[in-house]
């Protein structure tokens, strides 16, 4: 199998889905000739033309709302928010319109769109190019939210999102774009939405996380296995709404010790819901209190290198949290 980067995997998924289905089109700011500010849509304009790779006005509510209208008509729009931080003007369209379309019309209308948005910190992006915004959308029935942690999942989840009959928010970690490389199948495949994935088998404790924190955790887990003999089980949520409750429960029961990890601000984040699921279903299988590691509850995240580093969840913190839990 060949090795490609996370952003190449995203680009491949878009290209292949646009070839497969004429109704798939891309719209967003600078997605056309420029190929996106991160070049996620590179080459699409040349292959599919202006109509299917549409540069929109700087107008996020219109990007989402036009996608809603086109999806209602029967197209499969893939809208790009240039940064997840800029999704806020589109929240009304996503939450009040896209998420509720099927339910409110009693299954008459539907809204099969994808909204892609680069999220996450560690790229000197300051407050408005670093945020994790997924929790804002993670209590909206009707929406699905996926966050891939490696190139293979990035491609398979994006293909699944595009083929999904309902609106999917696809948050891609911008630091992962060129940092993460991995084996990606050449043949057509999807990664099913709604299924978490065990990324590492282990017996001493379980880490449940998603996004770029998966890669960080896997590196630490490997090192701790070699140096301390700690065996870490790692569950990647992949779909963070609605959560794969069964996989969460099984992963927690498997070791009886759980560390929940996110780079989002701690209070109100996705992992709070994961903790609730565990507490509700398998509290008596636990050998230690549920542990959480997350960013501080301050607006994400300062620009200066030293301040940003202080803000982020680091490998050292993950290592410390794992050792503490293993020794409990």
């Amino acid at each position: 199998m060949r090795i490609i980067s996370y952003i190449e995997a995203i680009n491949e998924a878009l290209t292949e889905e646009m070839r497969r289905d004429d109704n798939v089109f891309v719209l967003g700011e600078d997605v056309g000739k420029k190929g996106g500010v991160f070049r996620a849509t590179d080459g699409l304009y040349a292959e599919f033309g202006e109509q299917r790779v549409l540069d929109t006005p700087l107008s996020e509510s219109a990007i989402a709302g036009v996608a809603v209208g086109a999806a209602m008509y029967g197209m499969k729009p893939v809208a790009e928010m240039q940064f997840a931080d800029f999704i806020m003007p589109a929240v009304n369209q996503i939450v009040s319109e896209a998420a509720k379309m099927r339910y409110r019309s009693n299954n008459d209308w539907s809204c099969p769109l994808v909204i892609r948005a680069p999220f996450g910190g560690g790229v000197h992006g300051g407050l408005y190019h670093s945020q994790s915004v997924e929790a804002l959308f993670a209590n909206q029935p009707g929406l699905k939210i996926v966050i891939p942690s490696n190139p293979a999942d990035a491609k398979g989840l994006l293909k699944a999102a595009i083929r999904d009959p309902d609106p999917v928010l696809y948050f891609e970690h911008k630091k992962a774009y060129r940092l993460l490389k991995g084996e990606v199948p050449v043949d057509d495949y999807i990664v099913p939405i709604g299924k978490a994935d065990i990324k590492r088998q282990g017996d001493d404790l379980t880490v449940i996380t998603y996004g770029l924190m998966v890669e960080e955790t896997l590196k630490v887990a490997q090192q701790l296995q070699e140096e301390n003999g700690i065996s870490t089980h790692v569950l990647d949520l992949r779909t963070i709404y609605p959560l794969d409750q069964q996989s969460i429960i099984e992963a927690a029961q498997h070791t009886g010790k759980v560390l929940l990890l996110t780079e989002d601000n701690k209070e109100g984040s996705i992992i709070g819901e994961v903790a609730a699921i565990i507490a509700e279903h398998c509290l008596f299988d636990l050998d230690a209190p549920i542990a959480r590691l997350a960013a501080p509850d301050a607006p994400s995240m300062p620009y200066a290198q030293s301040l940003e580093k202080d803000f982020m969840v680091t490998a050292d913190q993950i290592e410390e949290a794992i050792i503490k839990l293993a020794e409990f």
Binding site: S61, A62, G65, V66, G69, Y73, R104, S105, N106, D108
Partner: protein, 329 residues
């Protein structure tokens, strides 16, 4: 009424049909208020005073293919677009058979896929960008339909109005946006809502024509919408109307409108003036109107009784369709 239907090649039959359509919307709307005040239905939001604009526009569209993104006052529009009085009553009674939402949404949140009526929500003006999306999709698939979207003048201050019309203007999409300016956004009058003398002049920013039209005259609105529809380009039409009822059944407009103003609006009622016009033209007589009224009474009574008796959606059904369901064969 200054426009002559004959001078605009509008047939006598069409002119009379428009009257019947306006009268139908008015009588249905009046029944909804009666039902609300007698405790039968929880809520009403009205079209009264705006029928002429809605019906005039509806007759100018090609309802066999055009898409409609209405707002909550558009009873006259959706009736003409093919929703039945029974559908309207099922919606008002929030019964399971309601084609708009099966009793899920409040009254007048119109939706009907088969009739190409886009589902709407309560946050206003979100439909303008949906209309842009439908029109864009039509352009991409090389279809010739128009998309017709309506809203109130208060809503024209929302960001989606600007974002939507700008998008429509940039891509010169075949969308007619009709602002039904009834002078009030609940209690706040036009001069506390909109900085410009007209909403129509905002069209200048969006590279499309903007016209103000007498929204109490169905012929005037028909002519403008028809013209826009033949242009193959976008247009913004501001139809000046008045709101003859409170904002909704939960409002009392006497708190913020003088009795003189209410009387003056009533005097300008388009339904009444259009009736007089058609009488002068010899197209309406007492006998013809009585016939229409009798026919409507039967239709509305039957629809009301049906909806009143109809069951609510089953509770087992209540949590369905959050997401697509697997096809069961």
């Amino acid at each position: 009424m200054t426009i002559s239907h004959k001078e605009h090649n509008i047939s006598d039959e069409l002119a009379t049909d428009m009257y019947y359509s306006m009268l139908r919307a008015r009588r249905v709307d009046e029944r909804l208020w009666l039902l609300n005040r007698s405790g039968k239905i929880p809520f009403v939001i009205s079209c009264q005073g705006q029928e002429a604009a809605q019906v005039g526009a509806a007759f100018a569209l090609d309802l066999t293919q055009d898409y409609i993104a209405p707002y909550y006052r558009d009873l006259g529009l959706v009736l003409q677009a093919g929703m039945s009085v029974k559908d309207i009553m099922l919606n008002a009674f929030a019964k399971g058979e309601d084609p708009n939402s099966g009793g899920r949404q409040m009254q007048a949140h119109w939706s009907h896929k088969q009739l190409r009526i886009l589902s709407g929500s309560s946050p206003v003006t979100t439909q303008v960008v949906h209309a842009a999306g439908v029109a864009l999709a039509g352009k991409m698939t090389q279809k010739n339909f128009y998309t017709f979207v309506t809203l109130g003048e208060g809503s024209s201050n929302q960001g989606d109005f600007h974002e939507g019309l700008n998008f429509i203007g940039v891509h010169q999409l075949p969308v007619i946006t009709m602002v039904e300016n009834n002078q009030y956004a609940i209690s706040t009058p036009y001069d506390r809502q909109v900085a410009s003398p007209t909403v129509a002049q905002r069209a200048g920013s969006y590279n499309m024509p903007g016209v103000v039209v007498d929204g109490t005259d169905p012929l005037a609105v028909y002519i403008e919408v028809k013209k826009a529809r033949l242009s193959n380009k976008p247009a913004l039409i501001e139809a000046l109307c008045s709101r003859l009822t409170p904002h909704s059944s939960d409002d009392d407009h006497r708190v913020y409108r003088s009795s003189e103003e209410l009387q003056s609006d009533k005097d300008k009622d388009g339904l009444h003036h259009y009736e007089l016009y058609l009488r002068n033209e010899g197209l309406l007589t007492d006998a013809r109107i009585e016939e229409m009224e009798a026919q409507l009474k039967v239709e509305i009574n039957e629809a009301t009784n049906y909806a009143d008796q109809a069951p609510y959606a089953s509770l087992e059904h209540n949590l369905r369709y959050v997401y697509a369901e697997e096809e069961t064969s």
